[in-house]
Structures are given as C-alpha cells and as structure tokens.
C-alpha cells in the first residue's frame, strides 16, 4: 500500500514538472490532467472517496476541459514565448512557495496546529463530509456560497457585450 502510494506520488510529481516544462500548452494541460488524476488516487488511498470524486469532477472534468477550450479558441500561437520576461511571476511563486514550505515545516515540527479537534471523525465518506458541512461548518459553508454567487454575478457583468448598445438597460 505504501509502495503504491509512493509510486503514485512520484507520478504526480513528474506530471507536475511536466506541466511547467512542456513546450505546447495542450501538452501542459494533459500533464495537469494526469496530475489531478494521480492526486485523486492518493485521496482514495487516504480513505477520502468524496474528495477524490470531487477532484475528478471539478478539476479533471471541468477546469482542464475549460483550459483546453480556451487554448483551442486562441488557436495556434506561432510566437516563441521562451524569452519572455518571467521575473514577476517567478518572484510571486517563490514567495508563495516559501510561505507553503514554512507552514508545512511549522506544522510538521508541531509549532502550528490546524484542525485541532481531530478533523472529521468518520473518514471521508460523502455522508460524513455532508454532516460536518451542515452542522459544525455551516457558517463558513454559507459564506462560500455567497462568495460563489458574487463571482457568478461578476462573471455575468464582465461577459456582457460591450460593443454597441446593450439590449436592455442594466438592472
């Protein structure tokens, strides 16, 4: 079991590197899908079936397909982007990576405790997660719903046609 987890983890990391290294955007998207799929397998091994299914439905089935859709809409880009100035994205990822590393280190050495009350008691089955979401975490859950609604309305406003007169006055 642990050998299998190690193997899947290695594959997952390899796919993650592939996302960054691949020259064509579609190949990057494929590596991303492989990465998401292997992550889902890791979740299953950790007994978090619901999380695994959600991972595949949302990330592999939804987001990667949207990414592919956008890549195809933009079409073939013959320009070479390898000499682009990447200082700012690199800086941002360095800072974020450092924060992640720091918090992981603090948690592993026991200086920072997250989810102190033992997390979800009865594993990652859908009913366990549902019960937790609608009892202990009800308020955060409802806030996330409002956040998503705001994002939805925002997308609607940004996606409205700007050229020419709008068909109806905004309201």
């Amino acid at each position: 079991m642990s050998v299998f987890a190690f193997l899947i983890g290695t594959l997952s990391l390899a796919a993650a590197i592939g996302v960054v290294v691949a020259a064509k955007p579609v190949h990057s998207a494929l590596f991303l899908m492989a990465n998401f799929a292997t992550l889902a397998i890791l979740y299953v091994l950790l007994d978090a079936q619901f999380l695994a299914a959600a991972q595949v439905i949302i990330y592999a089935g939804g987001i990667v397909i949207l990414i592919l859709f956008v890549i195809m809409l933009i079409g073939h880009d013959p320009a070479d982007h390898s000499h682009q100035d990447l200082t700012r994205p690199a800086m941002a990822s360095l800072v974020l990576g450092a924060i992640l590393l720091m918090s992981l280190g603090l948690q592993l050495t026991g200086h920072l405790e997250v989810g102190t009350d033992g997390g979800i008691a009865s594993g990652g089955s859908p009913s366990a997660i549902g019960t937790e979401l609608f009892t202990r975490f009800l308020l955060p859950f409802e806030f996330v719903a409002i956040l998503l609604l705001v994002a939805l309305i925002g997308a609607l406003i940004m996606g409205r046609r700007e050229s020419g007169e709008p068909e109806e006055p905004a309201g």
Partner: protein, 323 residues
C-alpha cells in the same frame, strides 16, 4: 493476491461482454434504421447479416495504421484510448443482480458516474486538436462546449435522484423500496435526463461535433483504421453504458418479477431494459433532425438548467416533508 486476480478476471470478462455488445449494437442499429427507412440492411454475411460485425472488425484490424504527417503524434494516438477507456470504466459501479455490482460497491457510485462522464470528452477534444485540421478543431470546440453545458442538467437530475433515494451507492439505490407516487415523480425527470445523455454521448440529434454536412466528419476526420473504430466503439459503448445507468436510476435496474429469488434473472431483466433504451436511442436517431448549434446551447441554458434547478428544489422539499 487471489482477490486481485479475481478482480482482473471480472474486469476482462466485463470488457469482453461490453465489446461484444458494441459489435451487435452496430448490427442492430443498421438493421433498425434500415427498417425505419424501408430498406433491408446488412444481409450478406451470415443469416440476417449476423456476421457483419465480425467482418467489419476484421476489415478495421487489417487496415494500414496510417498517421498523417501534420498531426501531433503523441496526442493523436492517445485520443482514441482516452475516448474508449471512460466508457468501460463507468461499468464498475453498476449493479447487475441482487447485491452484485459489476466490480465493487462504493459509497460514491453517483459521483463516480459524474466524474467519469466528465473526463469522457477528453478523447474527442484532444482528437480534434491533435489532428491539426480546422474542421476537426471546430468539432472539438463544439464537443467541449456541448459536454460542459449538458453536464450541468445531468448532474442536477442525478443529485435529485440520489437525494430521493437517500444514498450515493447504486447497489443500495436499486434495492430502496419506493411508493408509486415516488416512481411517478422520478419518471418526470426521465425525458430531461435522457436529453442530456443524448447530448453527452454525441448521439443524433445532438451529434454536432461530427456533422458530416458541415465539418466533413468533425473531430475524427483525420482518423482511419482501428483508431477510427475505437471512436466508434467509444460512442456505442457509451450508449450501452448510459442505457444501463438510466435503467438503474429510473427503471429499477436488475429488478423484475422473481429476480429476488433467482439471482440469474437480474442480468436478464437488466438486458431487456437496456435493449429497450437502446431501441429508443436508435428510434430517435431515425426520427428527429439535428438542431443548429446555437439552438442546442440555448435550449440547455434557458430550459434544461432552470428545469433541473426546479426539479432539485421540489425533490428537496419532497425528501424533507413527505418521506
């Protein structure tokens, strides 16, 4: 280890059964469409043309495996496999007899179906992109838009049915006893669900990713031989798989008179129900003409999704107050 071997044998047998099903589904479709159009259909190979699928398979296998020079080779070869695999994987969670799932009972059966139908479109999209051909690309774009859109009503109705059944496991769902009025409420969802499935499986009248009069053959224009056959297999196996899912969700799956007592009757009833649904698929193909792409999208966003939301809300009320 022996357990692993048993799983392996189960998987191989399941794949063989489904692939044989595919072969005879092509025969059935050609025969039925011929009857609908007052023709005879294949009748040369064997009695009633029953050997036609075998002849087609041999022909496809012995064709030259030609790869056009302008394609992205890796993705071009990968795409048919990515199209075919999910269609077979969905089978793992479907119950085929009392308490017997095809592979294993999981507590995320419904989510499994949603997850796998979600990744189904990869094969089509990647085929269209890797072919490096504008017609293929247009087919792939249509497929991506269509599948993402129709997944939403599919999910809404699926969640409603899971909620009414009170379980995510398909094995338990089939065995849940239901009142007659509950069946009627579930059957109201059937036309909506079936429409979404027609769009998800790229079946006529929603086969816009491969419309031959606009896009040559859409996403598989550049494919031939066995790789083309794999796309065909994916489409037909998807039909069989989704018919099985529909009969499990809406018509009690393996259930029928005496199926509780004689366990072997379960697969027989399931087969009859699946056959009826497949007939419906073919009947629709022979009867209804194709809509325009924008009509298809508008129908989804302005009718199917609101209908799904209403159904979900009412089902929630029913689950809380009437059960």
């Amino acid at each position: 280890m022996p357990q692993l071997l048993i799983y392996l044998i189960q998987a191989v047998v399941l794949c063989l059964v489904v692939i044989t099903g595919f072969a005879y589904l092509t025969w059935l479709e050609r025969k039925l469409i011929a009857r609908f159009q007052v023709r005879i259909g294949p009748n040369r190979a064997g009695p009633f043309g029953l050997l036609q699928p075998a002849a087609d398979a041999v022909k496809a296998m012995f064709k030259e495996e030609y790869i056009p020079g302008h394609v992205d080779k890796f993705v071009y070869v990968l795409a048919p496999m990515l199209a075919l695999a999910p269609a077979l994987i969905v089978w793992a969670v479907i119950p085929i007899a009392k308490g017997v799932p095809a592979m294993g009972d999981v507590n995320i059966g419904f989510l499994w179906i949603l997850a796998i139908t979600g990744v189904e479109s990869f094969g089509v999209i990647l085929a269209g992109w890797s072919s490096n051909n504008n017609y293929s690309l247009l087919g792939a774009l249509r497929s991506a838009a269509q599948m993402i859109s129709y997944e939403i009503p599919l999910g809404l109705f699926l969640v409603s049915i899971a909620m009414l059944g009170g379980t995510f496991s398909l094995v338990e769902l089939v065995e849940t006893p239901r009142a007659p009025w509950e069946w009627i409420w579930i059957w109201i969802a059937f036309p909506f669900f079936f429409t979404s499935i027609l769009a998800e499986t790229n079946r006529s009248p929603f086969d816009l990713p491969e419309t031959e009069n606009e896009l040559v053959a859409g996403f598989f224009t550049e494919y031939g031989g066995m790789k083309f056959s794999m796309f065909m297999m994916a489409e037909y196996i998807n039909m069989i798989t989704t018919s099985t899912v529909v009969s499990t969700l809406f018509f009690g799956g393996w259930q029928g008179p005496l199926a509780d007592r004689y366990i072997w009757l379960g697969p027989v009833y399931l087969f009859i129900k699946v056959l009826a649904l497949l007939f419906l698929f073919i009947w629709i193909r022979a009867s209804i003409s194709r809509p325009r792409f924008d009509q298809l999208m508008r129908f989804n966003w302005k009718f199917m999704i609101p209908a799904g939301l209403v159904y979900l809300t009412v089902s929630a009320v029913i689950t809380v107050f009437l059960k």
